[in-house]
């Protein structure tokens, strides 16, 4: 249809609101309550504009366009209406711009400059609102609130957990949580961006800089395999805050709290900022040139009895060069799967594990089956898509899990099993609730990364694949870290070269089985205490091995004790590289800050080491190789069918496993105090008992000669049956060993 805006003819569509049209045409209309991803409430009345024929100005955000409508975004009617709304908003708004973090980017400030009158006739007392503590991430200054209700609607409509609400009435209306409850949503930080004034603030950023001094740089998330797009705001080479960069295929306008606050750790005093070498049992400062030549020497000396493990948080470039150096020098025990303990599946694994459909297509699915993944916590951004699918497409969501958790969307079926029962359930799909999934529906199965930590991962993968095949479902394998897909593609696995090419020259099938013959460890951005399925065993091996080379950004007790040399690894935000997300999108991130002190991006170290080994390969060459590898990969599906697997027996082995908080999933996250102070930073151990646990029973566990007494009455879980769920004590330190170590229960 045709409409007239300020006397100019424009095209508009049915069911569009005026503001949608003007936004599309870049014609400015001020607004506070309207947000394109939230429902329309039309309550702030800032967007009032003149519509010919209407007695009073109309809200542009909620008024639908009509054929031939004549609208004026300027002129006295519009301007008077907007000026009066502004005047009303300012009568109770504090004049504290000089101390407000929002100053400089405050929508109220901007609008009042454009549309307000400077002088106020209001002489009464201004309203003040007592501030309440709503958690460690979002700080409040509620006197500044202008009641636009964006934050409330965000909770209800996007995050799926209503935590902030509007209380009181009239002039006494307030935005608050129920009696000082902390926000628990993993998306809570988005209210900071949504708040048009300085009422909801980024606690990390609070008072640390003025917005006009900040420099904005592009980056991506290093905290999960989705690769949300981020703008970092930098001042004096330090990250002051993170805000979402819109990406319609990934994070829309949102960021998970992990991505928003996950840079805090960079400033930790546990950072390693100098090259170090062990002398007299102590790590002391060294110089990089010596470390390069020692590394080259040691590689020559100990290959092939070296195990090289690398974090899947590394960039494709680091991965490619790392494996190239090692393989060219005879080292084949290369792996990134340090949290795994069952590798039988690996020969049949896809070249790139991936999300089998575009994330946007989630909303078209009839059925989505979640296997062992707590989407709301592990992939908060995905949970938004799932909620939309349920709301707009009535998608059925099934959750099959090995422990009990809650989601911020409705699930049709929520079953909790022991890991072996999970396999049985999938095998028996014809006779249980899964029977409703038919092959002529659009089905998607999402297998969460924590399944890979289980001792029967291969069986789970196999039965999931069989079920997927049977029901003609897509299968999505979600990675544990930001570049898990890249790690498979770049050959950070013992049995395949980059591009998934079978490599027959490897001796050991995985890093675990490499232990017995081990002389040297190269550990790249992994922390022995926290990143392994069995910390006790790895510590033991590190102790026994002849030489240990670490690339690490942070010091830990184990590194202090067992490293012979340590490269001061820059964090991802200080490095440039590409990451392959779960949708097979290769995203590049430039260094947003310079590395601190003597720290350097891993790629620099690797280049120098390769030179010391007589290998010279340029960055350009690496990028070309990577693109070639990626384009050569023929991706079919994610099914992993492994023959001759044991059928689980009725009473199968009991399995202890660790449930890690996604907020401690990588070294930098582990050092983000404000994230660790949320409700959600606890790790748990799930411990099934081969006996009926009666109330008040005392159980003693013995693990590697450590004895732990548990009082079962508070910790017993009904599902899976006879399970005890233990919370780890301490900040993020696990004190109870790990997944696959042996325990005795008395």
């Amino acid at each position: 249809m045709e409409i007239f805006i300020n006397d100019n003819k424009h095209e508009a569509f049915d069911n569009e609101t005026i503001i949608q049209v003007t936004d599309r045409l870049n014609i400015h209309i001020p607004r506070f309550c309207y947000h394109k991803r939230l429902s329309i409430v039309a309550s702030c009345r800032m967007c009032l504009i003149e519509v010919e024929g209407a007695k009073f100005p109309q809200p542009a955000c909620s008024t639908l366009v009509r054929e031939g409508m004549k609208i004026k975004t300027t002129g006295s009617v519009t301007e008077d209406a907007q000026k009066s709304t502004m005047e009303f908003l300012l009568i109770n708004h504090p004049l504290d711009c000089p101390v407000c973090d929002q100053a400089g980017e405050c929508e109220l400030q901007d609008v009042s400059l454009d549309h307000g009158d400077y002088k106020s006739n209001y002489n009464e007392m201004k309203r003040t609102v007592i501030d309440k503590d709503i958690g460690s991430l979002v700080s409040t200054e509620m006197t500044r609130c202008i009641h636009c209700s964006r934050c409330v609607r965000f909770g209800e409509e996007v995050a799926g957990i209503k935590e902030l609400g509007m209380t009181g009435r009239g002039e006494k209306t307030k935005i608050e949580t129920f009696v000082n409850q902390s926000l628990t949503s993993e998306l809570s930080g988005n209210v900071i961006d949504l708040c048009p004034v300085g009422a909801l603030n980024n606690n990390l950023y609070k008072y640390s800089a003025r917005t006009w001094d900040l420099e904005q740089k592009n980056s991506i998330s290093f905290n999960d395999c989705l690769g949300s797009n981020i703008y970092y705001h930098i001042y004096k080479n330090s990250i002051k805050r993170a805000v979402p960069k819109e990406n319609e295929q990934i994070n829309l306008s949102w960021l998970s709290d992990r991505d928003r606050f996950g840079h805090e750790g960079i400033e930790s005093n546990e950072r390693i900022l100098l090259p170090m070498i062990k002398e007299n049992n102590k790590l002391i400062q060294s110089d990089l040139n010596s470390l390069y030549s020692i590394t080259a020497e040691k590689i020559k000396e100990f290959s092939p009895n070296t195990t090289a493990i690398m974090s899947a948080q590394s960039s494709c470039e680091e991965m490619y060069l790392y494996q190239k150096i090692l393989r060219e020098n005879g080292i084949t025990n290369i792996d990134h799967r340090t949290k795994e303990c069952d590798f039988r599946y690996q020969e049949n694994y896809p070249v790139i594990p991936s999300f089998d459909i575009k994330i946007n297509d989630l909303a078209k699915m009839d059925n989505i089956i979640l296997v062992n993944t707590n989407i709301s916590k592990e992939f908060p951004i995905l949970s938004i898509y799932l909620r939309n699918a349920i709301k707009n497409n009535s998608t059925n969501v099934f959750s099959l899990a090995t422990y009990n958790y809650s989601e911020n969307f409705d699930t049709n079926i929520n079953e909790i099993f022991s890991p072996t029962d999970l396999v049985r359930y999938l095998r028996d799909s014809a006779n249980n609730q899964l029977a409703s999934i038919e092959s002529n529906h659009k089905n998607l199965i999402i297998l969460g990364p924590s399944s890979t930590h289980l001792k029967n991962y291969t069986e789970i993968l196999n039965s999931t694949s069989n079920f997927a095949k049977l029901t003609n479902s897509k299968l999505a394998l979600l990675g544990d870290l930001s570049n898990s897909s890249g790690a498979w593609a770049m050959g950070i696995i013992p049995h395949r070269l980059p591009g998934g090419i079978q490599c027959d020259k490897y001796k050991e099938k995985n890093y675990v089985s490499a232990y017995p013959s081990n002389d040297m460890f190269i550990v790249y951005n992994l922390e022995p205490e926290y990143d392994f399925s069995n910390d006790i065993e790895i510590l033991d091996k590190l102790k026994k091995s002849k030489y240990n080379i670490f690339f690490s950004s942070y010091i830990t007790d184990a590194i202090e004790k067992y490293a012979d040399i340590v490269f001061p690894l820059a964090v991802q935000q200080e490095s440039t590289g590409t990451h392959l997300n779960t949708n097979k999108q290769l995203q590049k991130s430039e260094a947003v800050i310079l590395p601190k002190e003597k720290a350097k991006p891993g790629l620099d170290f690797l280049h120098n080491i390769s030179k010391a080994l007589g290998l010279d390969i340029s960055n350009k060459q690496i990028s070309q190789d990577i693109s070639k590898i990626l384009s050569s990969i023929n991706i079919t599906d994610n099914y992993v069918i492994t023959e001759n697997l044991r059928v689980p027996k009725e009473k199968d082995i009991l399995e202890k496993y660790i449930i890690r908080s996604p907020n401690t999933n990588n070294p930098t996250l582990r050092r983000c105090e404000s994230l660790l102070n949320t409700h959600d930073a606890d790790n748990f151990m799930s411990l099934p008992m081969d006996m009926n646990i009666t109330e008040d029973k005392k159980v003693t566990l013995t693990e590697h000669s450590k004895q732990i007494k548990i009082n079962t009455n508070i910790k017993t879980h009904s599902k899976p049956e006879n399970t005890i769920l233990l919370k780890f004590s301490g900040r993020y330190k696990q004190k109870l060993g790990s997944c696959n170590s042996v325990i005795d229960i008395e």
Binding site: K162, E163, M166, T167, G168, R169, F178, Q181
Partner: protein, 165 residues
Amino acid sequence: MNFKDNFPKHLIEEIDVIRSKFPPDKSKSAIIESLLIIQHHNNGYLNEELISSLANYLGLTKIDVYEVATFYSMFNLKPIGKNIISVCTNVSCMLRKSDDILNYIEKKLNIKVGESTKDNKFYLKDEMECLAACNGAPMMQINHINYENLTYEKIDKILDEIPND
């Protein structure tokens, strides 16, 4: 009432009746009437515990219930005196000298609007609404029963006749 997560049986029954007035998936609709009943059984006021318990029982978030509890003026979030007096001081009553009536009651009970008497017998609500008895002005409600065409003598009689217990 003193309980943690469970309402006593008779309350549950009352709440279930309220719920049955609405479609099964609309338990939110039961908030207002349930709160009134809970408040009635809890000396006329609500607290965090009661709000949480109702949220749990109806399967809603606490803030959902709290939002409602703070919006409607008949919910009290602090303890109040046993008998609630609301004197209408809106236009029609004001024209017939309701301000004097209110003053008289304030003096008689030795409290200001919004306060409860020391012996907790009376709570004088700060009533802003018109109580829809304009043709009986001046008027007041005590425990939501109307008393109209008030005079000082009438007030004395009404208040004095309210038992002490």
